[in-house]
Amino acid sequence: MFQDIALAGPILLPALAALLLLGVELLAGGRRSQGSFLLCALGALVALIYTGYFLANGRTGLAFNGTLNVDNTALLIALIVHFSALLAVLLSRSYLAARRDADAPEYYSLVMAAASGMAMLAAANDLVNVFLGVELMSIPLYVLAAIRRKSARSVEAGLKYLLLGAFASAFLLFGMGLLYGASGSTLLSALPAEIARLETNGGLAAFGVVMFLIGVFFKVAAVPFHMWTPDVYEGSPTPVTAFMATATKAAAFGLLLRFTPVIATGMGPEAGSSMLAVIAVLTMFVGNLGALRQQNLKRLLAYSSIAHAGYMLVGVAAIVAEDGGEIALTGSSAIVFYLGTYAAMNLGAFGVAVVLDRGEGREGVNELKGLCSERPLLAAVMAVFTLALAGVPPTAGFLGKLYVFSCAVQARMYALAVVAVLASVVGLFYYLRLILLMYFTPREEGAEPRLLRTDSFLAVASFVCAVLVLWLGVLPAWFVDFVEATVRG
């Protein structure tokens, strides 16, 4: 019992923090966002350290009758989720200070609740827990997206997310029902064997897998289930967007990694991987092409996040194609590496977006003009993130892409690897445009100097991200070894 609870710590701690935050709000009432901020940051930090401790000491195992499988991959994903949560909370402070209308008392509590759901999703080993995790993650995010109730954009974002999210949940649930019908089990780890045993089901399992995947594709924003992404990312408060783009993706990919054996047995390795490959190609291209002409920084980053989901799907396709074996390990560690580095660079980029925004809704990419001469350090940091997102060495973004794409090569999906590289070349265009704006385009004549304030929490967050991105880019060996060793178990 206590063993179970201890193993579920990465899930329970943020939930506890969420409840505590509500309780504090209950007792104190009114706007106490400063105290809430500190409590929330502390909660995220404790969860992060707790997860890291378990990871470092190899404290893994099954909990609650095998419905939670807290293995190393789950812990790594939870680590990324809590890291994202912590950094998003650090970004929130200056964002909320500048925008009082987003400063609802529930804000921090909802972030923690979502983090709890994400951690659950990463560890879920049972279809019921998967659904619980998905909803625990999504519902707070729906509310967070709409938290600026006076802003039409924000409410629109929340409503769209809710409607389409419910739609996707229906598919997910339908898929679960079918999978249960095809196997008679809800345990993810037992599904492949059961499906294989009850061969007579034929298409039932395949159909279930597709339905289930549609639900997951929605969460990772894969084309054509991505349509909500730009609108929701644009309308949500920027730190929430950062959190959604990084942590949701990590959690959903964690689920997907755990689900790969089911895909391989349910659909067959070839059909499954070719379907994933098609989705990956579509996602990479639509994401990158959509971003080309964007004038809004958050929308641009939204499209870029779609493209990044596509890159990671390449790795998933490779894993499914080989169904087990060495590539399942290298592929998983490649994707986890990608998720970790992507979290760092994306959170950093959104942090700079928070600074530029100044609570006045200045989200145009033109705000980057002349940043280099005004705030050289900020520009340099942003350049690091941008180059990392574009996948330029020596940043971590390059290595992440390299590892994931080489998985496709390992799985002998050469065409997919080539297409993925081409897609990332298309991506270069709009990332380099940002650099161009920062370094080579002066601001308009007569524009008055801007007062760009960076509060210390945000500065620390951005700095940590930049250091991580560069460090993992130049000296990736220890992290790669660590991830590979832990994923191997």
Binding site: L19, E25, L26, N201, G202, G203, L204, F207
Partner: protein, 128 residues
Amino acid sequence: MLMFAFQQTSAVADHVPLLPYLLIVLGLVAALLTLPLLLGRKTKNAVKSASYECGVAPKGSARQRFSVHFYLVAVLFILFDIEAVFLFPWALNIQGLGLAGFVEAVVFVAVLGLGLGYAWRKGVLDWQ
């Protein structure tokens, strides 16, 4: 390939007798809907086309706004309704579940209680 989903023909075969039943029902519904159109007398006036409210004369438009409180109370109702649904099976097995089960139920109720308190504090239950 989807067709293979119905390969378990034994189950399907068992339900074949339902087919005539289905047809009869559909036919009956269709007949009941079309016959009045053909046979009935048609009168049209304001009273006839007014919406029916238990014989009382209708007041105002049906499309009016409701206070958000209705929804909040309804959501709270569902929440505690489901709480009850969860607690019934627990109560039936309380002997077998022992202390651990009791603690879990207490935590469950406490979390919901916190939610209720929060809603209360936020003024959901105030009905000015």
